[in-house]
């Protein structure tokens, strides 16, 4: 009722056009054209015209920031950060703000549907029929013929499926997401395993540091937990209460993060490991004492030559790193997405050993594990996804359930997930939006939008204490959708047998309670309660549960420097004169493209809106004879793309870069057929840790003669002086 009420009421508020001017003289006739339906029974905490605020968790990426949704009369009006949430302390990123445009997106999947794969048309079903379909799938096939593919976020759905899998011998659910792929999380945890004693997601305390050396880590954009790292950055920069910290960025293409660095070092892609080790060697020489084994192998002069950095620059940087207190080195981004990504990660971690900052403020930690979590569960690496795809192709799986991830769009075209689906008898998607994968499935049983659903989500990294972030419905579901957990629970009941025993829960909330209950006995939580009802009430009120104590792990770095580190250069797949560096658009990323306001947000580095571009150094552009807005064809070993040129002054002449996030073929009116998807160029190349070597390719550029202007916020005249005439 209430949301109906609000919609009606809203026609009035939103009544722009004639209405506004028709009644400039005041009230009177206009009043006749509105009808108001009062609440049947208004919640007693509610008053007409006053907002109600609900704490919940952001689902736009896997970081798990806490949100507070302002609602009025059943409509969600505005998203704010949850000020008490330890991860984001009341802040959000642009994507979090735009969550509402997903909730009220005109292109959501409104009902459960059945479709012939790939066809746009689809017939609606009832939820009973839908549940029956799921139940049949569970019953029909052998447990090991059923596969679940879910999003990066370690949330309650993942736990539910995992429990189901362990109880029934199904395959464990596979977690994947483009962001985790571009973050190269597998590489980070592998490097940690090799150097820091145990596998885990390292946490870099940027805030506590004084001098940050970042090797390709775009931690102000999408890397791991951008909001918390941005908070750290603002502490680093704070020059009032402490000395302003400095920050050097090593990357071939100046990212928005690199743009904030005091110094940007455009090194040759693939030489990050060398440079890190060289700096390490020079620094430890400056420090005096015996030269650690880790750095012994590298020759700075050689590194300088290969990386294209002057030797004196290396010396200067090494000097800075050695002398400055609170030095910190961060590996990440494109640096890890190369054939030698693991070597880079190790080399950079080793660099921290000189600073000796492990487990100290401003140093390297293991991210705090979420409550009730014993070890870091990392999402599937690209290599594992390839194996998964091979299994699909081989027909090992008869039924595939997909939730919260869009592999058809996100996985490299060379893995050809779409074709692999042909090996599966039944593909069931739980997508909220009609994305490419949903289009390729037999059924779409839409889940609620994040703001309409229950749940919790473990915070993988970013907060210093263990955090379990909680979600609750802030508005009544707008469409005929159903929580996937509820669907699965109902289906398992229908399926009966060990399925029903595995999940003895009435509904989603009961399942949540069963999962949250153990927290009551946990020590130093910031709240606790004696009975589960009160505890759940607090849990919802505060938007989760977290400890008051620092849960970050201190790495064991006994002989980190006492090993041979190979500063091997990366090898690059495909021939062509340009290094290809795809990067994740901070605003569009995995799931932003269907939100019109995110499309209209200018990119931080180029201010381009609504489209894809390729960044080419003006010098290179001149050599190629291309100009801004010219369309060029980019040829990699696996594919070609036509994309508009942006002459980007801060990129190596031998490198080109493209944002990931556009190029959807489905996914709603704002995303579909807009821009291109760099994943179509990516070959199946991996680094030692099994992460995709997305930055490990060389490509060719061909002119097309076409012109397609880009929408930029900036003035090409004012910023680049184009068309201003010669002085």
């Amino acid at each position: 009722m209430s949301d109906k009420f609000s919609r009606r009421d809203f026609l009035k508020l939103a009544g722009v056009g004639a209405a506004t001017t028709a009644i400039v003289t005041g009230c009177g006739p206009a009043s006749r054209y509105v009808q108001r339906e009062p609440y049947m029974k208004m919640p007693e905490y509610n008053y007409n015209g006053l907002s109600t605020y609900y704490a919940t968790t952001c689902r736009e990426c896997a970081a798990g920031c806490g949100l507070v949704a302002r609602t009025m009369q059943g409509r969600a009006l505005k998203i704010e950060g949850n000020a008490s949430h330890p991860l984001n302390l009341g802040k959000t990123c642009a994507r979090g703000q735009a969550t509402l445009q997903g909730l009220y997106n005109p292109d959501r999947v409104t009902d459960p549907i059945k479709r012939a794969r790939g066809s746009a048309s689809a017939e609606k079903m009832t939820w009973d029929a839908a549940t029956q379909v799921v139940a049949d799938a569970l019953k029909k096939y052998k447990p090991d013929q059923i596969a679940f593919l879910v999003g990066t976020a370690p949330d309650h759905l993942f736990d539910l499926i995992a429990d189901l899998a362990t109880a029934t011998g199904m395959n464990a659910p596979v977690r994947f997401g483009a962001l985790s792929m571009f973050d190269a999380r597998a590489t980070l945890s592998k490097a940690a395993e090799n150097l820091l004693g145990k596998s885990g997601l390292p946490f870099f305390d940027v805030g506590g540091a004084q001098m940050v050396f970042s090797f390709g880590a775009n931690f102000l954009e999408t890397w791991l937990s951008p909001v918390s790292y941005t908070r750290g950055f603002s502490v680093l920069r704070d020059g009032q209460t402490k000395r302003r910290g400095n920050f050097v960025q090593f990357e071939a293409r100046m990212s928005a993060t690199g743009g904030k660095a005091d110094e940007w070092i455009p090194l040759r892609p693939g030489t990050e490991a060398l440079v890190a080790l060289a700096i390490g060697r020079l620094a430890s020489e400056l420090r005096g004492g015996s030269l650690p084994r880790a750095f012994a192998g590298v020759d700075p002069a050689d590194a300088a030559a290969k990386s294209g950095i002057k030797l004196e620059t290396l010396k200067r940087l090494a000097n800075i790193f050695a002398k400055s207190t609170g030095a910190l080195a961060i590996p990440g981004g494109a640096a890890l997405g190369q054939s030698n990504g693991l070597a880079v990660a190790e080399a950079v971690l080793a660099l921290n050993a000189i600073a000796g900052n492990f487990g100290k403020p401003g140093g390297v930690f293991f991210s705090a594990l979420a409550p009730t979590q014993t070890e870091y569960q990392r999402p599937a690496s690209a290599k594992e996804m390839q194996d998964f795809v091979n299994q699909l192709t081989a027909g090992k799986f008869k039924a595939l359930f997909v939730h919260g991830v869009n592999p058809v769009f996100e996985l490299p075209a060379s893995l050809n997930f779409k074709a692999a689906l042909q090996g599966v008898e039944q593909v069931i998607s739980f997508a909220t939006f009609p994305d490419e994968t949903a289009l390729e499935s037999d059924y779409v049983f839409p889940d609620h939008h994040g703001l309409e659903s229950w749940g919790y989500q473990r915070v993988a990294t970013g907060a210093s204490q263990p955090v379990l972030s909680g979600s609750q419905p802030t508005v009544v579901p707008y469409y005929n959708t159903q929580a996937t957990v509820d669907v699965l629970l109902a289906a398992t009941k229908l399926a009966g047998g060990k399925f029903a025993q595995a999940l003895p829960f009435k509904d989603e909330v009961e399942f949540l309670r069963s999962k949250v209950a153990p927290l009551m006995s946990e020590a130093d939580g910031f709240f606790s309660a004696l009975d589960i009802n009160t505890f759940m009430a607090y849990f919802q009120q505060h938007g989760g549960w977290w400890k008051t104590s620092d849960g970050r792990g201190v790495p064991n770095v006994a002989d980190i420097l006492n090993r041979d580190l190979k500063g091997a250069e990366a090898t690059f797949a495909g021939e062509g004169e340009f290094f290809f560096t795809p990067f994740v658009s901070p605003t569009l990323a995995e799931a932003g493209a269907n939100k019109p306001w995110l499309q209209e947000l200018p990119d931080a580095a180029t201010t381009v809106m609504w489209n894809t571009w390729v960044e080419i150094n003006p010098i290179t552009a001149e050599e190629l004879g291309v100009n801004d807005d010219d369309v060029v064809r980019i040829v990699s070993e696996v594919g070609t793309l036509e994309v508009t040129v942006y002459r980007y002054p801060a990129i190596r002449p031998d490198t080109i870069a493209m944002p990931f996030g556009q190029g959807h073929t489905a996914y709603g009116r704002y995303a579909a057929n807009r821009g291109v998807n760099p994943a179509d160029l990516l070959g199946a190349n991996f680094n030692e840790a099994g992460d995709l070597a997305f930055a490990g390719m060389k490509v060719k550029i061909e002119k097309t003669g076409k012109v397609q202007p880009l929408s930029r916020l900036e003035s090409i005249m004012g910023v680049y002086g184009v068309g201003m005439g010669k002085e």
Binding site: T21, V24, E714, S715, M717, G718, V719, G723, M724, G725
Partner: protein, 473 residues
């Protein structure tokens, strides 16, 4: 008039055929000629008329309604060029309208005799031009249906227009100018209307009877008319000056580089006269060549006289342009310097140079020579080039200067959209009104010509023959 080449011809015959005032025809015949010109219209006239009607219907009516319904998005205006061709046209038409008053009022006040046959043509231009200016400025409003909020009227909201804003003054000045110039058009018209009334039948007779206000030509009526005209002639001159000065303040009182220039007032007025004279001469040339009997009334001497005026005004304009440029350059503001540089070297630099050529080079080159000056088609060409040049000048001052501001991040070029059909529409409407007027009222103030002919004569001093005027009063 013709002193400068009397050594060539000194014959009385030469003077007469060249000098309208010296070969009088009987009143009846002259009136008949004027009436015939009014009644007689060829198929060519009607085809042009029809085409113009179509153009107005599409370019003005349809496009405007479309724009009102869809919003200014279909026009080319953007940030930073919030103002575009609409304002250009407004200033342009107001400029056109200035010539009328200038010629008929100022020349009347200074008793320039050669003015007589074409005062009315000029006054018509004033009125019709102002109509187009009004249209253009209303087109530019985002919510035109609320235009009345710009007028001071008591209301329960206790809200008044903001008299700090030049736009409010604009509205007042233009309305005042429209009213007074219409009156000033009407007064000298009365005797001719009475003449027409006595020479026509049917609906025309009723039409003229209503307009002629029962003018019978008694001595008393003439005295009153003369007084009224003299008063208006003197009164309207300051109005005219104020109007374009205020228009210039729209720009001069803004805080934009290239706009806030103290010389803009006189600069705009001279510019207005410049384009206005150009327009007058074009109209005269067309009227002379297309309408019947007009070759008698409008003669080379008139083009010669106007040509001299145009030359002088062109020089004045050149001076003010240079003055404005040098003052802004000397001001040394970095943004202004950027702007000046952008005018010349920017993507629209060609327009800047074209403006200088059309406004200075062409007139100076062609109008020096008395023989060329007297050729209608030459002066027509010059008038055309001047009008194009002056339109360019306004285009440079408004959208192109708006491109450059103090926030380089927002600089953007402006491309006109629906402004183009709407602009063409106003032009078509102007011509249409003029054509219909030429068929409804005598384009030639016959009585003024007669009056002039009464007082002109040739006197011989020794071997010199000169044209002398014995004053009426």
């Amino acid at each position: 008039m013709a002193e400068n080449n009397k050594h060539a011809h000194n014959s009385e015959g030469y003077f007469r055929e060249k000098h309208l005032m010296l070969d009088p025809l009987p009143r009846g015949q002259m009136n008949a000629m004027a009436m015939e010109a009014m009644h007689h219209s060829t198929w060519k006239f009607w085809t042009v008329f029809a085409i113009l009607c179509v153009i107005v219907a599409y370019c003005l009516v349809y496009s405007w309604i479309k724009m009102i319904l869809e919003g200014l998005g279909i026009a080319g205006v953007n940030r930073p060029a919030y103002w575009g061709v609409f304002l250009v046209n407004t200033v342009f038409w107001i400029g056109i309208s200035h010539a009328g008053t200038f010629i008929s009022a100022i020349l009347r006040v200074f008793k320039a005799e050669f003015r007589r046959p074409f005062t009315r043509a000029a006054e018509l231009m004033t009125t019709f031009g102002l109509v187009q200016a009004g249209f253009s400025i209303f087109m530019h409003l985002g919510r035109i249906w609320l235009f009345y909020w710009l007028m001071p009227y008591p209301n329960q909201r206790m809200l008044w227009p903001n008299m700090h804003s030049p736009l409010s003054w604009d509205l007042l000045a233009i309305t005042t100018y429209l009213l007074s110039s219409t009156m000033y058009l009407f007064l000298p018209l009365i005797p001719d209307l009475a003449m027409a009334r006595d020479r026509s039948t049917g609906w025309r007779k009723i039409f003229y009877r209503i307009l002629a206000l029962g003018f019978r030509g008694t001595e008393g009526e003439w005295t009153h008319l003369r007084n009224a005209m003299t008063i208006f002639a003197f009164a309207i001159i300051p109005v005219m000056f104020s109007v374009h000065t205020i228009v210039s303040w729209d720009f001069a009182s803004a805080t934009r580089p290239g706009w806030n220039s103290t010389i803009f007032g006189p600069y705009f007025i001279v510019g207005a006269l410049h384009s206005g004279m150009g327009a007058v001469v074009m109209v005269l040339a067309i009227v002379r060549s297309t309408m019947k009997n007009m070759k008698y009334f409008i003669r080379p001497e008139h083009f010669d006289g106007i040509g001299k005026l145009m030359l002088i005004i062109s020089m004045a304009w050149a001076y003010f342009f240079f003055n404005d440029y040098i003052v802004q350059w000397y001001g040394g503001d970095k943004w202004t310097h950027l702007l000046l540089h952008f005018h010349e070297a920017g993507p629209m630099g060609w327009m800047w140079f074209a403006m200088l050529i059309c406004n200075i080079a062409v007139p100076w080159a062609l109008l020096w020579n008395a023989r060329w000056r007297a050729m209608p088609w030459v002066t027509f060409a010059v008038g055309l080039s001047i009008n194009i040049g002056m339109w360019f000048e306004r285009y440079i001052i408004i959208p192109i200067s708006l491109t450059i501001n103090r926030m380089p991040f927002t600089w953007r070029m402006y491309q006109p959209g629906v402004e183009i059909p709407l602009g063409i529409g106003t032009l078509a409407l102007f011509i249409l009104l003029y054509m219909s007027a030429s068929k409804l009222i005598p384009l030639i103030p016959v009585w003024e010509v007669e009056e002039g002919q009464m007082v002109h004569e040739l006197k011989k001093f020794g071997r010199e023959t000169v044209v002398s005027v014995s004053d009426l009063e």
